[in-house]
Symmetry: C2
Subunit: 760 residues, 2 copies
């Protein structure tokens, strides 16, 4: 392991310069010959029947080349799962949230398109609307979708062990309810689509997405174009965070417009459209009842979570499950009941997000601190006593093959001087800890696997071909680093082709934190396959045995002999001359239980590996203003193995910004009658670089037996645990508990006030 030259090293990302100089091509930058500009007309009402749409005036405007409404679609419904097909991508019957797509058109310029949009006349019958979980579930509430009683969209029930029995036997039982607002992603790049349907029936399409192959399949289904003819193209992507998955009406519309106009169509979302009409994270109400023994070890837990899902299902079954799954992974809960409810409301659609169920995790973790306080156990100690260990079998039956959670707790505590600090800080200073765990891939698509090819070029350089997409996290770099390591080539001798569904073989996408695990393994195997072919040619050239050869710095050497061998370049030429061109293949699919389902059978191996993260935050609260100053954050993650520590640490930093600094302290939407009041950067308060605390990143390696070099998911269990640590630190600082996220100054001042009243 010690002789690795690239993997495990700090390598600048291969796309940094292109991004820094503005050279990187995002979808909105692209232009095709004969391209038209598309615009979408959106609903001004949260709930209304569409009585008529008159596009005739718009169609007559010179420069307008195509107009589409629900009438062009046949009213077919789309859903991520067969059993969640509830969304007409262009609605025929009614609109269900403010911002929903109603009609669209393509014209020779954006100006003409905008002008034409204003000429479309839609007649609506406004319907009563519901905006909260309580309103939606109330007796007699208007139904957003027929047949979904009390607007319950999805119900995930899980029960393992003897929950009620253990509550009876518990030393202490606590029940708390936590509420939180929805979160937004605010990717740097607003959504954009460029679609080109050609005369041969091919659709090529560019858009920021987290899985070109999954996107292609969905578009193939929804547009009824054979998969082989749907080409999702590579483009630079300005962030995903879970919000670039699923199929959005924008893609469907751009493709429809291109079909109708016979020309390429580009649609660039405004920031407002990006916030309202792609996805958001769910707001939620979580009630947690926990029983512990005298040592603070959890013996039983019952969780009920209601999530505001907005107008349609989207990735609902996943979103309703994952918050629980993360928690069952991190803290042992031998007897557990979970009821997750996803509720329809007349608000924008909610889907997967990097910090899935943040309030859920914060609730479980804050309650653990409450129990620790009641039992006078140190919060670090109670976490160690409840921490998942290697070899554990989780309630829903996944085996944990690698786990260094306890190490992350201990190292984060040591680095943050936990023992010296906790309980010894001045008033309104606090320190808090949170732990979380995230899956490294779960089954999506056929087997969720990834294939890779490595093609050697005449000059001895090689091209890596992989379906893995880079949404900003550094996947491109990871693939090249692994290939270069295996092949003994400098990274600059390798080129990457990725994320183009026409060119690259199948990949499940960078959902569910699987890219390094599956894609990295596939590239590693492809490189090993190519190297075996290379060594066969080289062995003959060198009069050596294949098994004695190694590759290093672009040379093939006989192990232990002279430090110079023959250049790989020469071996490639020899191979070409003797008609044995070198091409390596690799494929890796995580070994998970494919009979496991989200709702009907949520038991079995969910993911082949799990990451574990612990974050400690130290804060100072101004009791006069309720403002929080975060002094220091220590984040320790068991990511299995850090292929590029710089990139992993970058994920920690981003995760802390999103999960903790923004998510706990400032981010949240304001609403008025289903209208979002703060859809832009100006009003929605994202943390800036200058708001960020000092961060101590700590990589803890557990060397997963199946991950490439031992690697598994990196960064996301920090994003989650950061939120938990922030909550616990603030509660520690003010000496009371808060049950509502975000922890705005108003909320904090309110809690201080209440405590003062109670103490008085």
């Amino acid at each position: 392991m010690t002789d690795r030259s690239l993997v495990g090293k700090r390598i600048p990302k291969i796309d940094s310069l292109a991004k820094a100089t503005g050279e990187a091509r995002f979808t909105a930058d692209l232009t095709l010959p004969r391209m038209l500009h598309g615009k979408i007309l959106r609903s001004p009402y949260p709930h209304a029947r569409i009585l008529s749409i008159d596009t005739s005036e718009a169609e007559r405007l010179p420069g307008v080349k195509a107009v589409v409404t629900g009438q062009d679609t046949g009213g077919e419904k789309w859903g991520v799962f067969r059993y969640t097909r509830d969304q007409q991508l262009l609605p025929v019957d009614k609109v269900r949230y403010v911002g929903e797509e109603v009609a669209a058109l393509a014209a020779v310029s954006e100006d003409v398109a905008q002008e034409a949009l204003d000429l479309i006349e839609v007649e609506y019958e406004v319907l009563p609307a519901v905006f909260t979980i309580e309103e939606a579930m109330a007796e007699g509430a208007p139904l957003i979708h027929e047949g979904f009683d009390r607007n319950i969209n999805i119900h995930v029930p899980i029960e393992v062990g003897d929950v009620e029995g253990e509550f009876g036997r518990a030393h202490l039982v606590r029940e708390d309810t936590f509420v939180s607002e929805e979160e937004s992603y605010f990717m740097g790049e607003p959504y954009a689509i460029l679609a080109n349907y050609d005369t041969s029936g091919n659709l090529e399409i560019w858009m920021p997405n987290a899985s070109p192959h999954t996107k292609a399949k969905a578009l193939s289904n929804v547009l009824q174009i054979p998969l082989t003819k749907v080409h999702v193209r590579k483009t630079t992507i300005g962030g995903a965070f879970g919000g670039r998955s699923d199929v959005f009406p924008g893609e469907f519309i751009a493709a429809l417009l291109s079909v109708k106009a016979g020309r390429p169509v580009k649609i660039v979302y405004t920031r407002e459209e990006n916030t309202m009409a792609t996805r958001q994270g769910h707001s939620m109400i979580t009630t947690i009842k926990t029983g512990v023994n005298t040592d603070g070890v959890v013996t039983a837990r019952d969780i009920t979570c209601h999530m505001d899902g907005g107008a349609y299902s989207s990735t609902g079954p996943i979103a309703t499950s994952v918050p629980f799954l993360c928690l069952e992974q991190v803290y042992r809960m031998p007897n557990v009941r979970y009821n997750g409810y996803r509720i329809y409301t007349n608000k924008p659609i909610r889907g997967m997000i990097r910090t899935h169920g943040r309030a859920f995790a914060c609730g479980v973790d804050m309650q653990l601190d409450m129990i620790a306080e009641e039992l006078a156990i140190d919060p670090m100690e109670i976490r160690l006593r409840n921490a998942t260990r290697q070899g554990d079998i989780l309630p829903t039956k996944s085996v944990v093959h690698s786990c260094a959670l306890d190490e992350t707790i201990k190292q984060a505590a040591a680095k943050s001087r936990w023992k010296e600090t906790r309980g010894k800080l001045p008033p309104y200073h606090g320190i808090g800890m949170g732990c979380n765990s995230v899956q490294t891939g779960f089954p999506l698509g056929i087997r969720g696997g990834s294939q890779a090819l490595i093609k050697f070029n005449e000059d001895g350089g090689a091209t890596v071909i992989s379906g893995v997409v880079d949404t900003g996290q550094g996947n491109d770099n990871m693939l090249i680093q692994i290939a270069a390591e295996e092949l003994g080539l400098p990274m600059e001798d390798l080129r990457l082709i990725s994320a183009d569904t026409e060119v690259t073989p199948t990949d499940a996408g960078c959902y569910s934190m699987v890219s390094t695990f599956a894609g990295g393994n596939a590239v590693r195997l492809a490189a090993q396959d190519a190297q075996r072919q290379l060594f066969e040619v080289a062995a003959e050239m060198m009069g050596a045995e294949v098994e004695d050869l190694v590759a290093r710095d672009g040379q093939i050497l006989i192990e232990g002999e002279s430090p110079t061998g023959i250049p790989i370049r020469k071996v490639i030429r020899k191979a070409l001359i003797q008609d044995t061109p070198i091409m390596g293949r690799g494929h890796y699919a995580p070994h998970v239980d494919h009979s496991r389902e989200w709702i009907k059978n949520p038991l079995g191996q969910l993911s082949e590996a799990f990451s574990f993260g612990t974050t400690v935050a130290e804060v100072e609260v101004d009791p006069e203003t309720g403002q929080v100053k975060v002094l220091e954050v220590t984040a320790a993650q068991d990511c299995g193995f850090a292929i590029n520590p710089t990139v992993v640490e970058g994920q920690f930093e981003g995760g802390i910004a999103m999960g903790g600094q923004g998510g706990v302290l400032t981010e949240g939407h304001q609403w008025s009658g289903g209208h979002m009041l703060n859809p832009t950067y100006r009003e929605y308060k994202m943390p800036l670089a200058c708001d960020m605390p000092q961060i101590n990143p700590m990589i803890v390696e557990s060397l997963d037996p199946n991950g490439p070099y031992g690697a598994k998911e990196a960064g996301m269990s920090i994003a989650m645990s950061a939120a938990q640590a922030y909550c616990n630190a603030i509660c520690n600082a003010i000496g009371t508990w808060i049950h509502e996220l975000p922890f705005t100054p108003e909320t904090i001042l309110g809690a201080i006030e209440n405590k003062k009243k109670k103490d008085a």
Copy 2:
């Protein structure tokens, strides 16, 4: 063979609709974000020393982002071969023809670029120039390149057998000299380049080209960018005809400008630039001395050919050799001497062209008619007596594995009613025959081979990945047709990725008529490899033996059993689920003698296969105007096997237009002091559709043992033999010989006049 469902059938080309609708994207159509427009300043003098270039005013013009001159290049010289490096792609010392590149710049618009071009000041010292072979070789002529005595650029000497001895023993010896003007290609698409050099050191470049991989290698050498970082991209190409090979200064300049500006740069040539500054065919003077026995069988031949090569070497060694090689392939010449001289002149650069050495072939063939006349042998009969046969070993030592030349002669004669017509036509009506042969690939690049990949997609469709480029002749269609045939899939289930040097594996390019032979074989092998993998999975699913399976119409069946099997789609899914994704590989390199060289050792197997064509033309000459009306053309070619007869016949038609109708009758350049007077469509007389005669295409199949399904080169030996047939038919009509091409009305009238004088 009879159960083939696609190969051998008339299939519409897959790109026809895109080309007919204007949807196809040519280089000039492309736009990249931040793209600049480039323009090139060209020499107004045919021969001049560059004393100074002042670009300062141009650089100061707002909107100008980069200016380059020879000073930016280090004066390095480029050549197709190591021993022909004579061209500074941006000259430092002097210019050698009118139109040569002197400086270039890139600006924010074409208008600004043009304006800036006018601000560049170049000081020249005009030098004496030479414009013809005679002038260039004259005693005391100015030398265009130092060290090339009498401006002889290249000399190819070949001698086999006892030439002088056989002349002594011959029944009849004739010597004739033929001259011809240079030819132009006049592709539908003027040259254009889009180059983008990025911050990672990658160059991506689009341009019409006949071999992306060879182009990439050349650009890598000349720009000193590693091959792995040079990405020649796929683009639609509007014709090549040999004139899109080689490296042109335009590409080098566009890349340099992009490096300097740090932005993409597009240069679109005007029609004038395309004619003067890409390539032309050589003009030539050929002296042929032929000895025959009493039966008209050639016993010895001595050919001296002087070719006007223009200012630089380009593909000179090939161009100087191929005209002879085609003739040694078609007509037996056991004792032969060849001296080919390529001469520098102060005219545009001449390179490879579809009708390589047309005047040479016409000379040999017209002289054969002269000999036939002297010996009172029918021209068809003398051709049959001298025709190459299968199994022959050519003078330069190639073995002819397949040959149906005699069949092409017989079938063309039968169809054109040769025996009923020849010698029995009214005055000024004539019929003539010509025969030619063309190589099916000769070694270029590493082994001249081609690799292919076939990747199955989840829906059972497949993607073919091949480096073969389609320059308009239908290669894209050929590759898909072969893959579909082998895989038992409908063509619409297959997609093609081709001609992108980053994505596709090595291919030698569509030089030398090798695409079907090498590229087609490679795709066939890849399909067979993929099918073997498919059958392994299917056999298990069906409980059958692999060897009993066949694939047809998207199904896998047990041979001889029920007509329905399992859909390939299902086998693919099964393969994915069991972690054995299907990916086929193929590679084919023609078996040729790699020690053979163009000049120093022109002996050995040149090409693995040779095509043979016979054309018969029937014409009517107006003795008052010299105008020729071509009544009917019958073209019979041994193309081995016609994979798509419609495409092959299209090649016949294009070849007859270019080789005969245009090349013999109307095309030719006019010059004044090195200035071309007719560089555009308006002045250079190309035949129009309405000028074309009735054509009888006849495909003769010889089933080459190594070609895919027996296929070899298609169409080009018709382009050549059409020229020969036109010449012979006109001479037959007017009853006298013409030694000068093209056969313009003036030339024909002159010949009629001379004959009248002689007869009188």
